[in-house]
Amino acid sequence: MNAREQILGRLKAISMTDPISTYDDGLKHRLDAAWDGSFPDESRRLAGLFADALEAVSGEFYSAASVEEAAEIVGRIAHSSDYNAIVVDGGDMADNIALRVTDTLQVIAIPEAAQRSEVLADIHCSMVEAHWGVAETASLAFPYIHAVSTQPHFLAETVIAILKRDRLLAHLGALFNHLSPEEMKNLVLVTGPSRTADIEKILILGAHGPKRLIVILLD
Amino acid sequence: MTVSLFIPCLTEHLYPESGLAMVRILKHLGYKIDYVDNQTCCGQPAFNSGYRREMIPVAERFIRLFQDKELIVAPSGSCVAMIRVFYDQLALDPSLMPGLKALKERLFELTEFLVKRNHHDKLQGCFPHRVTYHDSCHLSRELGVRQQPRQLIQSIKEIDFVEMTPPDLCCGFGGTFSYKFSDVSVEMVKRKCESIEATGAEYCIGADSSCLMNIEGYLRKHGMKAKTLHIAELLSRSLDLEKGAA
């Protein structure tokens, strides 16, 4: 018999309810209500929570009333860090913004798969578009089904993420309610820049991934 | 009303004074006292060391001895937790289950009992000293008794009560742990004693003789200033109940 059958054979004999759990069916309901209830409905206030949570994880928050304004912000960020190129992997909004920064920045589309990681490893700034944002934790959801590549999120030193205001949800529970099974199955959730505290618990940003994560909330 | 005394081993053999203090307090409050003669041990040391087979007869004997008592009070959170919480983990004689259930409902740790019955108003003695309070693990975590001892302490006049940080950190006793891994246990009690010293308290109050023995042992050996005092003794002294006692 192979390992699979051996293991499943042993497990077949087991079927039991948890003797310890003191679970009542109303609990999930109560829990969901309490989780929901701790968030305001209005998107203005959600944006404030998002900004606070993002800053708590050392991310940077901007809000822009228009594509033009967002483009200006992107330009400023690039300028202040002396970036002259930006990789764009995005949806419509990111592409629209990219169109408006071409006079100061070289906009690079996602390179062919074969050279992708090599090329991206040398580019310092990327712009991506989040599918959903979560106010509670300042998390951004990127389902692969809507992405071309995830490497811009990870290989660049600075990542600028565009989030549309109507894509902002209250909390993680709400996020998973909004994701389709196909979306959630292949997904990365990003919260703040990459970080480590493995040396004497000293927090350092930019472990193996980006050092800066900038979110532009777009109306 | 009659209170039956449950006197844990350490109280019996090492710290009888805290037992006697408890008796004085209960009498001061008008209770009749009943001492269940022939009591020995609840079995906790053996249970914690894994010897259930050896301790089950002892536990069963304990239930038989106490199951019919109207009210039982003990000056130890750990021993009360043994019965209220840990006896359930034992494969006891099923015919004793109703007795155990009844026993659990009528068995109280001293401070829990005093506050539950709103006696703290009648226990406002005077104790002009700085004290701190150590939360014993089983009393605070298993029985959830954290507020009661503090309430009793704070009802005392002129007492200067200072919390140590953190008050509910284990003192490192842990029964046989304290000699099986004595090096680790010592480091733990050291940390506890340092946090006691940091409060500048003259007395570290506790509600479990085992923790107090451990803490006292370290304080004494290292010439530290603070002394330990069982909360029953604190209450008894603050009310001056010692007079006339043997």
Binding site: A3, I7, S15, A121, F154, V188 | Q89, F177
Partner: protein, 468 residues
């Protein structure tokens, strides 16, 4: 490998190392405080704990069914599923796979399960260049040791230690600046990410409903390890199941605060098969090794199965006053601290693991802090009982307990003997080594009262006035 005889030696080593203890103390204090702040902000924390416990017990209620469904869904998603009875089989599967695919270089992201099965030595023996990519794991790999904490692998090393280690092993100029150290590691590992043929990761959660698994991290190393190389191998203990990805938010909500005192981890990677068809990127093959290694027997054990609900957050380690003193290496195995003390005898056998469950004062703080509501103290007691009953404790203790048991049901004899003991103790000079030598080295022992409570009470006024 676990060496029970060395337990006391490890502990003495740890207690002698003041730097280690200061570091462990500082790190755990910080984690405890940050966790507590987040818990305080979450009034429904207790409900969350109950709920995740329930989800875990639900999915493991019928483990055979859950695993079969999970396997089928994984296969439908294009994941290759392998099964391993024990550590040796799991190692072999991965080594064979590497050989078959002509793999030369492997990048690994943090995985405790690979520590459990001691994978790295096997990969090295097979001539595979293997790099740990989590900074802490990388440091520990260079040191040639094992992690000393579930979530903080290099907790036992100071920045000076790490500086010297990098100087020696990587040939760089000495620095103890943490950021410079990180930059060195980042640069070296970046090259490895880009040139590795295989990425190996652990699994935090495996969703039955969707046939997908979850890898959580902060450094982005896991994402890079599993998205750049052509082959991704993930290894999971069979208990990692959760019912569905829609239950994941509850686990995420408790995990990050408990693990690192964060609201959320930086990256949550959900992998439901090779992603090539979605975005021309990611591994061409995803392999998942499902490991038993004793787990099915633990699941069958009604009183201890709950120990498998552990999500390896480390909260029980951080709050544990014993762990704080001795650190992780004293436990001698991949899992340490309070949960380690239960898992060590469960995975290694009662005989090999005979000390671990006793390395606890049973204070109960671990249970209060465990997001999964695992009743660790209760399980330690159960294991202590099994160890005692299998005759794995010291003979003198066993005999002593028998005598005690015989006496404790005979009150008069009991009184006589304890009275005698009191007299004997009075004869021995204060603070001498009786009855517990280790105990009194740094603590005065209480004096037994020669009369005891009973006779004092019987003689006292108290009894005459108030008695029956």
């Amino acid at each position: 490998m676990l060496k029970p005889r060395k337990t006391h030696h490890y502990i003495r080593q740890a207690l002698k190392n003041d730097c280690l203890r200061a570091a462990v103390g500082k790190a755990t204090d910080l984690a405890v405080r940050k966790r507590q702040d987040l818990v305080n902000e979450t009034p429904y924390w207790e409900d969350l704990r109950h709920h995740v416990h329930h989800l875990k017990s639900k999915v493991l209620e019928n483990p055979e069914q859950s695993l079969m469904t999970f396997e089928a869904r994984c296969i439908a998603n294009g994941i290759n599923v392998h099964w391993a009875e024990d550590a040796a089989e799991a190692r072999q599967i991965i080594v064979d796979l590497a050989a078959q695919k002509k793999v030369k270089k492997i990048v690994k992201s943090k995985s405790l399960t690979t520590e459990e099965i001691e994978l790295n030595p096997a990969l090295e023996k097979a001539g595979l260049e293997t790099w740990e990519t989590d900074l802490g794991e990388y440091i520990v790999q260079l040191e040639g040791k094992t992690p000393s904490h579930l979530t903080m692998p290099a907790l036992h090393l100071s920045r000076y230690d790490i500086g010297r280690l990098f100087e020696k092993k990587l040939g760089i100029e000495y620095t103890d600046n943490p950021n410079e150290l990180l930059q060195v590691a980042r640069q070296r590992l970046r090259e490895h990410f880009l040139s590795a043929d295989m990425g190996i990761s652990g699994v935090n959660f495996a969703a039955v409903e969707e046939g997908a698994f979850v890898v959580i991290e902060n450094e982005a190393n896991a994402h890079l390890s599993i998205s750049i190389p052509k082959i991704h191998v993930a290894i999971m203990g069979l208990e990692k199941l959760i019912p569905s990805l829609s239950d994941l938010p509850y686990f995420l909500k408790v995990l990050a605060p408990s693990a690192t005192g964060q609201k959320a981890s930086s990256y949550v990677n959900i992998i439901g098969g090779p992603q090539q068809h979605l975005m021309e990127e990611g591994p061409e093959e995803v392999h998942l090794v499902i490991l038993d290694n004793g787990r099915s027997n633990i699941l069958a054990d009604a009183s201890l199965r709950e120990t498998l609900f552990c999500i390896r957050c480390g909260a029980c380690l951080n709050i544990c006053p014993v762990f704080r003193q001795v650190g992780g290496h004293a436990y001698g195995w991949a899992y340490m601290g309070p949960i380690g003390a239960t898992l060590i005898p469960l995975y290694n056998g009662l005989s090999e693991g005979r000390y671990a469950p006793f390395l606890s004062s049973l204070c109960g703080a671990c249970f209060d802090n465990c997001p999964m509501r695992i009743q660790i103290p209760k399980h330690l007691l159960t294991l202590r009982n099994r160890i005692a009953e299998s005759g794995k404790t010291m003979l003198i203790e066993r005999v002593g307990m028998k005598i005690w048991s015989m006496l404790a049901v005979r009150p008069r004899l009991y009184r006589f003997i304890t009275g005698l003991a009191a007299i004997v103790q009075q004869l021995i000079p204060f603070d001498k080594a009786f009855p517990a030598p280790g105990y009194v080295r740094h603590r005065a022992l209480g004096r037994m009262d020669s009369k005891g409570f009973r006779s004092r009470f019987m003689d006292s006024e108290d009894r005459r006035e108030g008695g029956r």
